[in-house]
Amino acid sequence: MQHPVTLRSMHANQSGIIDSVSATGELGRRIRDMGLVPGTPVTIMGRAPLKDPVALKLRDFTLTLRNNEADLIMVHVKESGENHQ
C-alpha cells in the first residue's frame, strides 16, 4: 500500500481505507460521529457541480463533506477499481 493521501485529492469511484482523521473540536466530533474513523472503507461517489463538496459512501450510507473538511482525512487508496463493502 502507498502513502496515505487526503480525501480531497481522491477522485470519483476511487476507494480506500481511512488512515487518520486530524480534525479536532466540533468538526472532529461530527466527522467521527458519522463513522469516519481509521480503518473504515470509503468510496468517493462524486463531487457537486462546482467540485465541492465531495460525496462519499461509507458504512451503507452517503455522506458529503466540504473539501476543506476532506483535507483533514487521510486515506490509503486501494489500487485499481476494486471496491469495498
Binding site: 472532529g28 460521529d33 463513522g35 457541480p49 463538496p53 460525496a55 466540504r66
Partner: protein
C-alpha cells in the same frame, strides 16, 4: 395509569413516521423553554395505559455540540421516561447502533425498533435479531413504520417495560483499551467516593464525558471545584500520554473503540449480505442524474421554479376566497355599525389587519406541503449539496436557497413563508444570516410599489425595471449576509458534514401533519401578536386626528358645495368626493403617523422623501401594499387600488417634488427597509425577538444609507 415513552434515533430513520403512526393527529408541537428546538408530543391509549409519546430531535450522537443532542440527552437523564424506543434505519445499522450504544452507556434501558426492514429484505440482507438482541441486552423488533408493520409488537414491548418493575440502571461497559479503561476506573472511584454532581449521572459515563471534553458536563462539574480539578488533571495526563504514544486524542480513541465494538457485534453472522450484491441501488442511480454536473443544476432550477409557480398560482385562488371573506366581513360590519371610531377600529384595525395576515395562510399551506415533500424525499439535501459552494462564499449554507427563493428570489414571493422555510437549516449561524437577509428580496407586496414608480418614471420598461430590482435584491441579500457573517454573526462556518439520505417516497399523512402544524402555528400568531400590532398601527394612523375646527370646516365646505347649482348629480358627487379626499389627506397628516412623517422630513430629505412618502413608508410596515394606498391618500386621491394605480403615477410624474432619482431612491428604500410586521413577528418566532428588533433597525439603516447615496449622487450627475 400514565406513562412516558420517548422516541430517539438518527435523522431520516423514520422516527417521525413511527411517531405519526402511533399518535395520529393527537399531537402538538411546542418549543423547549428558551431554545428553538421543537418539542413534539402526542398521546396514545393502550389498555389501561395513557401514554405520552415524546418524539425527541433526531441526532447521530449524544454529545453536547448541538442543541438537538443536548435536548435529547437531558430528556433521558432528567425525565427518566418509562420506555425509550430507539428507531434505527436497518439499512444503515452501524451508524445507527453508534447512537444506541451511547444511550446504553447512559444506563437507559431501550427497546430497539429496526425500521425499514422491507428495504433490508429487498436487498437480500438478513439480520439475526435474536442474536443481536442477546449481544446488546435489549429487545429488538423488526418494523416498517410506513406500513404499520411491527407497530403492535412494539406497543406490547413498550407496555411490558412500562408496567413491570424497571430494571435497575445497568450501564453498558465498552472497553476503550488499557490506558483509557485504567483512567476511567480511577475517575469512577473519585466520582463515586465524592458523590460528584449528587449521583445524578452514572459515574463511568461522567468519566467518559470528561475525556470527551463535553462542554455541558465540564460546566456542571465546576460546582465542586476540587473534584473537577482532580478529574481534569487525570484526563490531562491521559491526553498527554495518548498524544505522545498514539498521536491522537482520547475523544478520537473513544469513537474508534465504539465503532470497533459495533463491528464486533455485527460479525459472527449477525448480518448476512448476499454474495452478489448489486453495486448500484436506486438512490445511486437517481443521483447519477439528479446531482449530475450538468443535468443536476438544470433540474434543480426547474424544480425550484415549478414549486414557486405552483405555490403562488395555486395559492392565489384560496387567497382570493380569504380576501373576499374579509372584504365581505368589513363591508357588513361598516354597514351595521354606526360610523365612528368603533367601526373604524373594527374594520380598519382588526378585520383588515388580521384578514391581511390570514390571507397568507393558503400560501404557507401549499409552500410547506411542497417543502416537506422535498425534505422528506431526500431531495433537499441534494440541493444543499449542489449549491453549498455558492452560498458558502457569503457565509451561508446550501440550504439557504429555499428561504431566498420563497421570500422573493423570484418576484412575487413572500418573506413570511420564506423565513419559515429556513427551518430546514440546521446550522445556527447560517440560519440567522439567512432569516435576516431573506426579506431583502422582492416579495409580492413590494412589486406594486415598483410597478407604480416604474410606470411613472420609466414608462414602458416595467419588466426590465423589475428584473434589475430583483437582481438588486439578490445582490443586497448576499452581500448583507457576508457582512453580517463577518460582524454580528461572526464565526467559523458550521461543519457541513451532511448525510445524503436515500430517496424515499414521503407518506401523505406525514406531509399533511407537518403542513398543518406550521399553518396552525402561524394562525395562532395572527390571533395574538399580529392582532395587537394591527390595532397599534391603526391607532397611529387615526389619532389624534383632525381638530374639531378642521372637521367643521370640511362640513361647511360640503354644505356650501351641495347648496350650489350643479349641472348633474355626477358633477356634485365628484366635487364632494374631492372634498372627502382632501379631508382624508388632512386626517392622515394630523394622525400620529402623519406627525412622525412630517417630523422626519428633515431626516428623509437627503434621500429625497417628503412627509407624504414618509407616511406611506410608515404604513408600509403594516404591509408593503399599504405604501401605494397611503401614497394615494397622502396625495388626496382617495383610496388607491394597488393594482390600478395609473392616476397616482400620473400625479407623481407631474409633481415638482418628484424626479427619476427620488423614484430610484424610493425603490431601493422599499426593497431594503424594515420587513413588514408579520415578517418581523415570524422572525421573532424563528430566531428570537432580539434578532427581530435587529432586523427592523439594521434593514432600515441600510436602506437609508443606500437611498441617500443614490439620491445625492444622482442629483449631482
Amino acid at each position: 395509569m400514565s406513562a412516558t415513552m420517548a422516541l430517539m434515533g438518527n435523522p431520516n430513520s423514520g422516527k417521525t413516521t413511527l411517531f405519526n403512526s402511533l399518535t395520529g393527529a393527537r399531537q402538538h408541537v411546542g418549543n423547549y423553554p428558551g431554545i428553538t428546538v421543537e418539542k413534539r408530543e402526542g398521546h396514545l391509549k393502550v389498555g389501561e395505559l395513557d401514554i405520552t409519546v415524546v418524539d425527541l430531535p433526531g441526532t447521530y450522537s449524544l454529545t453536547a455540540y448541538t442543541q438537538d443532542e443536548l435536548v435529547a440527552r437531558n430528556f433521558l437523564i432528567e425525565n427518566n421516561p418509562d420506555a425509550v424506543v430507539t428507531v434505527l434505519d436497518a439499512t444503515n445499522l452501524e451508524r445507527s447502533l453508534y447512537l444506541v450504544l451511547q444511550i446504553l452507556e447512559l444506563g437507559t434501558p431501550v427497546i430497539v425498533a429496526l425500521n425499514m426492514m422491507d428495504e433490508v429484505r429487498r436487498k437480500g440482507v438478513s439480520i439475526d435479531t435474536t442474536r443481536l438482541s442477546a449481544l446488546l441486552g435489549a429487545p429488538i423488533l423488526e418494523m416498517v413504520a410506513r406500513t404499520g408493520e411491527g407497530r403492535e409488537d412494539l406497543l406490547r414491548e413498550a407496555r411490558k417495560a412500562m408496567l413491570h418493575q424497571r430494571p435497575a440502571r445497568t450501564e453498558l461497559r465498552i472497553s476503550y483499551g488499557h490506558d483509557l479503561d485504567q483512567t476511567l476506573d480511577a475517575m469512577q472511584a473519585v466520582i463515586e467516593s465524592s458523590n460528584f454532581l449528587g449521583g445524578r449521572y452514572p459515574s463511568r459515563w461522567l468519566g467518559l464525558k470528561y475525556l470527551e471534553n463535553d462542554p455541558e458536563i465540564l460546566a456542571l462539574g465546576q460546582s465542586s471545584p476540587e473534584v473537577h480539578a482532580r478529574l481534569r488533571e487525570m484526563t490531562g495526563t491521559l491526553a498527554d500520554h495518548c498524544r505522545k504514544t498514539l498521536n491522537t486524542e482520547p475523544e478520537s480513541l473513544i469513537a474508534d473503540y465504539r465503532y470497533g465494538f459495533i463491528s464486533g457485534l455485527l460479525k459472527d453472522g449477525v448480518i448476512t449480505r448476499p454474495t452478489t450484491q448489486a453495486r448500484f441501488d436506486i438512490t445511486d442511480k437517481l443521483d447519477t442524474v439528479l446531482t449530475n454536473r450538468l443535468a443536476g443544476p438544470l433540474l434543480m432550477f426547474a424544480i425550484i421554479y415549478l414549486m414557486f409557480e405552483l405555490t403562488f398560482t395555486l395559492g392565489e385562488v384560496p387567497m382570493g376566497w380569504v380576501e373576499s371573506f374579509f372584504g365581505w366581513l368589513s363591508e357588513t360590519t361598516s354597514a351595521t355599525l354606526p360610523e365612528g371610531l368603533l367601526s373604524s377600529l373594527i374594520v380598519s384595525g382588526i378585520i383588515d389587519g388580521v384578514g391581511g395576515v390570514l390571507g397568507f395562510t393558503p400560501l404557507i399551506l401549499i409552500m410547506f406541503f411542497f417543502l416537506s415533500f422535498l425534505e422528506d424525499s431526500g431531495y433537499m439535501a441534494r440541493m444543499a449539496y449542489m449549491l453549498d459552494r455558492v452560498f458558502r462564499i457569503f457565509g451561508l449554507h446550501g440550504c439557504s436557497v429555499m428561504p431566498f427563493i420563497i421570500s422573493g428570489g423570484i418576484p412575487g414571493g413572500c418573506a413570511v413563508p420564506g423565513v419559515m422555510a429556513a427551518r430546514t437549516l440546521r446550522s445556527p449561524k447560517e440560519k440567522i444570516a439567512t432569516v435576516l437577509t431573506a426579506p431583502f428580496l422582492s416579495c409580492g407586496a413590494k412589486v406594486p410599489v415598483f410597478l407604480l414608480l416604474a410606470a411613472a418614471f420609466f414608462p414602458g420598461s416595467g419588466a426590465s425595471a423589475l428584473f434589475w430590482i430583483t437582481l438588486g435584491g439578490w445582490v443586497m441579500a448576499l452581500l448583507a449576509a457576508r457582512v453580517l457573517r463577518s460582524t454580528v454573526i461572526k464565526g467559523e462556518a458550521t461543519p457541513f458534514v451532511m448525510e445524503l439520505p436515500p430517496y424515499r417516497m414521503p407518506t401523505l399523512k406525514g406531509m399533511c401533519l407537518h403542513t398543518w402544524e406550521r399553518v396552525w402555528q402561524y394562525i395562532k400568531k395572527a390571533g395574538t401578536v399580529i392582532l395587537a400590532i394591527s390595532i397599534l398601527l391603526w391607532a397611529a394612523m387615526t389619532f389624534p386626528g383632525p381638530s374639531e375646527e378642521q372637521t367643521a370646516r370640511f362640513a361647511d365646505e360640503r354644505a356650501a358645495t351641495e347648496a350650489m347649482a350643479w349641472d348633474s348629480d355626477e358633477a356634485l358627487e365628484e366635487a364632494l368626493a374631492e372634498i372627502d379626499n382632501v379631508e382624508a389627506q388632512q386626517a392622515l397628516r394630523s394622525s400620529l403617523a402623519g406627525m412622525i412623517g412630517t417630523a422626519l422630513e428633515p431626516v428623509s430629505k437627503p434621500a429625497g422623501f417628503d412627509w407624504r412618502t414618509n407616511i406611506a413608508l410608515l404604513g408600509g410596515f403594516a404591509a408593503k401594499e399599504v405604501i401605494v394606498s397611503s401614497l394615494g391618500t397622502a396625495y388626496s386621491l382617495g383610496e388607491v387600488d394597488p393594482e390600478e394605480s395609473t392616476g397616482l403615477s400620473e400625479k407623481l410624474r407631474s409633481d415638482p417634488a418628484w424626479n427619476v432619482w427620488v423614484a430610484v431612491s424610493l425603490i431601493a428604500f422599499v426593497l431594503l427597509y424594515a420587513p413588514c410586521f408579520v415578517t418581523v413577528a415570524v422572525i421573532g418566532r424563528e430566531i428570537g425577538w432580539k434578532w427581530a428588533a435587529f432586523s427592523v433597525g439594521f434593514n432600515t439603516i441600510l436602506a437609508y444609507g443606500v437611498s441617500v447615496t443614490i439620491y445625492q449622487v444622482g442629483m449631482r450627475l
